[in-house]
Amino acid sequence: MHTFRETMIVFRDEVSGSLRNRVGIAIGLIQPCVYLVLFGPLLTKALPTEGGNAWRLYIPGLLVQLGLFTVGYAGFNLIPDMRSGYLERLRVTPASRLALLLGRVMRDLVLLMIQLLCVLAAGLGFGLRASLPGVAAAAGFMMLLGISLASLSYLLALKLPVEYTFAPVLNGICLPLMLLSGILLPMTFAPDWLRGISDANPLLYVVDAMRDLFDGQFTTRPVALGALVVVLLAAASVRLSIRVFGQRNS
């Protein structure tokens, strides 16, 4: 109960801070649409899908990519808070360590959901046609994925609290994750060795599941597998980062 109250306090404070950053909001909203506008038209030509809808294939991937490169980079906003002593100040209060982490993660999720709505709205304009309950379920997948990516990003920032090491390491992790997730092109095109590697990428299962969901198929193997992966990933990520967050170290 205390944890919930404290999470909401941190969350509200973080949101009010983000709202004051007008430039950040504008870029956050425009960026996903840039992908759609600049890359989408190529894709519809490159991937002729039989009777289907190329947008239905592309947009789930775009959403995951968005999560990876926005929420996945959330750690960047923790670094100045460590440097200014703000995080340390919060850690000397009796507030739950979980709340200090989750309040931030929730803020990131809200931003992610707003971006998701922007992409879907823009996608509709371009000609996306998808199952509404499927899209809603996919949004649920995105929430869980967002929790994982944000927590892991904070974990990495705690371990590498300076930008010039945090940034290259994060890029080094995110790029292969993206390339091997079938976000841009389906991994069915890949040679065996590449597919073998990509099988170890949790994002692959999430993207596959979301594609089925957009198609309105709820009971497929990829959906079940994706759900399992995303739930386990979220649980493990939060557990791991809360351990580091709560540690009396540094």
Partner: protein
């Protein structure tokens, strides 16, 4: 209010273990202002961070405001305020909101937090800064915001890590007066680390000197100065230097006399009391005194004497 025994911290890295704090013991009574002095790297900040629950000790224990540091860190956090060297205000946040957030995380209701925020803003005379962000403040202003943040929940124990580092003289004096007032008005126990010996001299009832991870001296600033360094009396005479020297060297309480022309320099205890006796004896010996000066040792003298002595001993241990 603070009881520390054997508190130690060893950092382990690939290159081996580094002992930052070798095991310190001390006590701080309720309402005391105690200064924690030592050169850079002596273990001040590490000790401070252990006592404020930020760092897990590798050995020893501490009771703070009645709670066990290791077993009840949550209770300790409720009872302490901490102002770190870097402060803790969020640079981009509106100060009033930032202070209220701290109150909320200490379990206050919204209205309670607002009321307490208004109270600390008034206490530190920063009401006119409340709607600004801390990024726009001067060093002295920011320090007062940091202290307001640390005191929002009216903690009985306040930890200050170098509270006046990089402040101009006026801001320092202001911070000092705030610290004194905390004790006078609320009986707050204050444990502060500092490099500045004049700060400890002005502010602290007691001083702990830490060097190479150990407490090497502990007393009131006056007693430390009396015990470690002597007072100096400088007497200029018009004539009869040899006679003056004989007289002074035989006097009680004088440890040594050095002569430079017509100027004599005496190392002695309690110069204030010894002086009149010395002057009478010089008068009896028919020495004409031209001028007299009494020099009190500063805490710097004490500090240098102790930390140097400590290093010499360590070196001897290493050789033996």
């Amino acid at each position: 209010m603070i009881q520390v025994s054997g508190l130690a911290k060893t950092f382990s890295s690939k290159k081996g273990n580094v002992t930052a704090v070798a095991g310190v013991d001390f006590e701080v009574g309720a309402g005391e202002i105690v200064g924690f002095l030592g050169p850079n790297g002596a273990g001040k900040t590490t000790t401070m961070r252990m006592l404020t629950t930020l760092l897990k000790p590798s050995g020893g224990s501490a009771i703070i405001a009645g709670h066990d540091l290791l077993r009840a860190s949550g209770d300790v956090r409720r009872k302490i305020g901490y102002v770190s060297q870097t402060g803790g205000a969020k640079p981009a946040a509106i100060i009033r909101n930032d202070i209220a957030l701290q109150g909320r995380l200490h379990g206050m209701s919204k209205s309670e937090a607002q009321a307490r925020t208004a109270a600390v803003l008034a206490e530190f005379e920063i009401e006119d800064l409340a709607e600004r962000t801390s990024a726009t403040l001067s060093g002295g202003q920011r320090r007062r915001v940091d202290m307001a943040l640390g005191l929002i929940h009216r903690p009985p124990v306040l930890f200050l890590d170098e509270p006046t580092a990089n402040l101009d003289p006026q801001s320092r004096a202001l911070v000092w007066s705030h610290i004194r007032r905390l004790r006078e008005e609320h009986g707050t126990t204050v444990f502060l680390s500092t490099h500045y010996l004049d700060e400890a001299d002005h502010l602290c009832d007691r001083v702990l000197i830490i060097d190479q991870g150990r407490v090497v001296a502990e007393d009131s600033p006056e007693r430390l100065k009396a015990a470690i360094a002597h007072d100096t009396i400088q007497i200029d005479v018009a004539d009869a230097v040899d006679q003056a020297m004989d007289t002074l060297a035989r006097a009680d309480g004088v440890h040594s006399v050095t002569v430079d022309g017509y100027s004599l320099s005496l190392a002695c205890d309690h110069a204030d009391q010894t002086l009149s006796v010395l002057l009478r004896q010089l008068d009896l010996a028919q020495v004409r005194v031209e001028s007299v000066r009494v020099l009190k040792p500063s805490l710097d003298d004490v500090f240098m004497a102790i930390t140097q002595r400590d290093r010499t001993e360590t070196a001897e241990h290493a050789n033996a």
